[in-house]
Symmetry: D2
């Protein structure tokens, strides 16, 4: 993905500006055009707010066209490779490009039911979701009235636009679209941070195997050098952290049973706020552990 600086956007001519931001809203370069004359933008947030305001201020039929310009999730456009590259990579982020046959059928069924009821595609900001939570949203929103659903679709479009803009433009500020998932291992047997503990983060799914999405080894402060997830939303979904504490305590020569009472400690939890900070620490001895949503 090519990025562009806020500074150069402020200095660009109109054609360049629209070329750079024309796909922030799907098939809707008119949004970029509408804000071009408002430059310069002091911050990325100001640029985003202007674009969002332009969307909200557009006539109803233009807003509806914007909605209808979006592809189905795991739909025909995806299968025939007819999506914008943005949509393609977004749908892939939630695993929609590798669904099982049963899941494809379920999406097909929901897409049809949704189009039958609302005459538009189901839109959700997939970077904030896992496969399971998309299906849950789908089922939930199918119950909406048309007016509420049009509003919901526009809300999701603004979220998609904000995420695309945040990734596209280099600026001193960032949009508030980032979550953070971090951990911390404290060795309460020895009274200090546990260094050198291997950790894996897996995304769980109702159906199908857990998917490894990050691994790390704790540093001297018992933390991973980087957050396990950062700089992007944490998809709503269920996760498992695996802490390899058996190897850690063996390496330290701590007295353990054979086999060790604790070996790999799994901690499963769900993320409900993609922009939230989830800190999930482990306090551990060879015989006990605690975990909690920390801060």
């Amino acid at each position: 993905m090519t990025t562009v600086s806020l500074q150069s956007l402020n200095a660009a001519d109109k054609a360049q500006f629209v070329a750079a931001l024309g796909d922030i809203y799907e098939h809707a370069p008119w949004v970029a055009e509408a804000v071009c004359g408002r430059r310069p933008f002091a911050t990325l947030a100001a640029l985003h707010d202007a674009m969002a305001a332009a969307v909200r201020a557009a006539p109803a039929d233009q807003r509806l066209a914007l909605i209808k310009g979006h592809p189905d999730l795991a739909g025909k456009a995806a299968r025939t490779n007819a999506m914008t590259s943005e949509s393609k990579s977004e749908q892939a982020s939630a695993g929609l490009d590798r669904l099982s046959e049963a899941e494809l059928k379920e999406f097909h069924r929901l897409n049809n039911a949704y189009r039958d009821k609302f005459a538009m595609p189901f839109i959700v900001c997939v970077r904030r979701h896992s496969k399971d939570s998309i299906l849950r949203e789908f089922a939930r929103r199918l119950q909406n009235h048309a007016a509420a659903e049009t509003k919901a679709a526009l809300g999701e479009i603004l979220r998609i636009g904000a995420l695309r803009l945040d990734q596209r433009v280099e600026a001193a500020d960032r949009l508030k679209v980032h979550g953070r998932l971090s951990t911390h291992v404290l060795d309460t047997h020895a009274g200090h941070p546990a260094a050198g503990v291997a950790i894996e983060l897996l995304e769980l799914a109702r159906h199908g195997e857990p998917r490894l999405i990050a691994s790390a080894t704790t540093n001297l402060d018992g933390r991973s050098d980087q957050p396990l997830i950062g700089g992007r939303p944490i998809p709503i979904g269920r996760y498992e952290l695996r802490f390899h504490v058996g190897d850690y305590f063996t390496g330290r020569g701590a007295a353990q049973s054979d086999p060790p009472f604790l070996d790999v400690v799994p901690v499963q939890f769900a993320v409900a706020e993609p922009e939230g900070h989830y800190h999930v620490p482990l306090l551990v001895t060879p015989w006990s552990y605690s975990t909690y949503r920390g801060s």
Copy 2:
């Protein structure tokens, strides 16, 4: 399995006595014969001690014959249905009757290596073991010297005999061959035991799926009415307890995120002492939990 009371054993004639206990030691009714004249036995422990002493006091060649009378683990006798019913149910308890092809090959390889080195079958009290720990024992004992290994084999035979006797004979006392695995769920959000929590206990294996071995729902005291494992050894191995706390807190109307931060809490641990008491409690709120080896 037919059981018999200690009282009736004390009153039986010799033929009946030997018929009842002749298979406590594999293909070795002479053990029962040897102790028949020592009756009456005041306790089951006294009967066991007498039989064990008879084994230990037997001439070396008779002890060796006793060892050699045992079938291979997952060996030819098992495949051709030529084992005693005792051996058959013991091997099944550790899952040796449902090995994968790869596992069968591994047992075959180890059986051969063992017979080549020691000229006798590998004997282990399988009711105290899982598949994984048998393989670990196998590899470990292959390193032994012959004398140490003969001693180890006899030790296992005495353990097998004790377990068979404990199951066969009704008496006021029990032999010390039982472990206990229990749990306890405390709702530290509300400050009382968590009643109505669904719990599952699974046996884990290095290869293959977890196997459900017990399920329970906590009672008003936050415990299962019966120990999850009791009245028998706990096979050396790795286990997972699954606590369905999301449903519990939803049922109590506790404030949770959507989806709930905690839903099913998995706790994995290993058992190293089959006759030990493993108490593995959970202290839990919708946002935190602790577990430990308790008592």
Copy 3:
């Protein structure tokens, strides 16, 4: 205190029966007289229920006389040694016999305010209370209307009667007037119960020094051989448990800092249900601990 068996009460003549139970209700042998003819009582609970029913069924003026027969708390009868021996030992149990000058004045003030408003003495089952909670009850009940307060006073009289009866009569059953306070120390550094830990239980007061009410050393199961409080109500109030874990870990040779990070661990908590079971365990390493209301 002399005790008497339920059996002998059932067999006694009326004079003996009334002599034995005449002071269960303060200066009101008519309660015992009223139930004498209902004998035999199968259980202590049945005897208690009969006596309580007799109190409730008495004419209003007799019930009022019963109320008025009680001494003030820390009042003139106490100072002049004019109380029944039952009242005397009850008031001493809550420390009313060793009040400071300021506290005596406070009781004096409240007694007068209460008598001015309700024309009767303030009655509370002091064995269920500490000094602090009596003062709190006193202030709270002073706000009552007369009818509610008469009902409250009778309720307390029935509690006093139940406790006296439970202590006086030997029977197979006990009345539900007992609480229990227990603890348990688990060494999560070593993975087993902590044996040999010195423990003290102190009663805390808003004013004045903590008062030692029990001490114990944990047994092999990490518990005290006897509950710290049992066989009686736990007075409503605040308590501190002190666990001498520094000495324990030093004795076990566990690595600690110098001075040890943890030495005496204080745990403060309040009891609100005198007949409840308060289990307050400690899970501890040289560097961490947890405590909670358990079961």
Copy 4:
């Protein structure tokens, strides 16, 4: 205390330089004189290292004179107000200016015993100590041989010098003479940091009342805005944190018993490394809590 910048020290003439740093080492302006010609010093650490090297390189009799130039702890110079202002404020920091009669006698006894054995005053960097730990050090070092004790005294003098220098000179760097004591309150009942919890930190003493040394209220992240102790060593000693969690949960409307099971939670711990980071968090619900040495 007047401070001076490293920059101006580098620019000063010799007389000014020695005037500014002449009392970093007690009655020993020769240390400042010795390093004056080494200027400019790029960092405070470089200045400190040079001064420490000058002390170590001085002839034995000069080093001994330096040692002998120090006042007794709580000794005659203190009583007659004859100490340098630096020594005076240092001794006050550990409470040596407000000893009880018994403690004064104990110091008198130890000072005499020490002078009798070593013919010099007992020197310890009191800002790293509490009264109790000074007495412990005193008793321990009285057992030393003369050579070891001379070395120990010089080591303490260097620590005193480093602390005085760190406080006197403004520079971009700081010396490694600071510890930090912090806390963090996590509400595991609600799953977020506990804001608005009143906290007190007290220094405990073997004899005498606890002394309040810091109080704070937790901010939105559950922490105090400033470390409870920072920018200086944490005196070796025992401490108590008091967390007012009863008021906090009452303010949040959490269900509690009456009186609340937990009200003020005391956590007692010892500091052994004055330059260490002690993080002592509390994870708390109305019915449970955990604490540990964190990081």
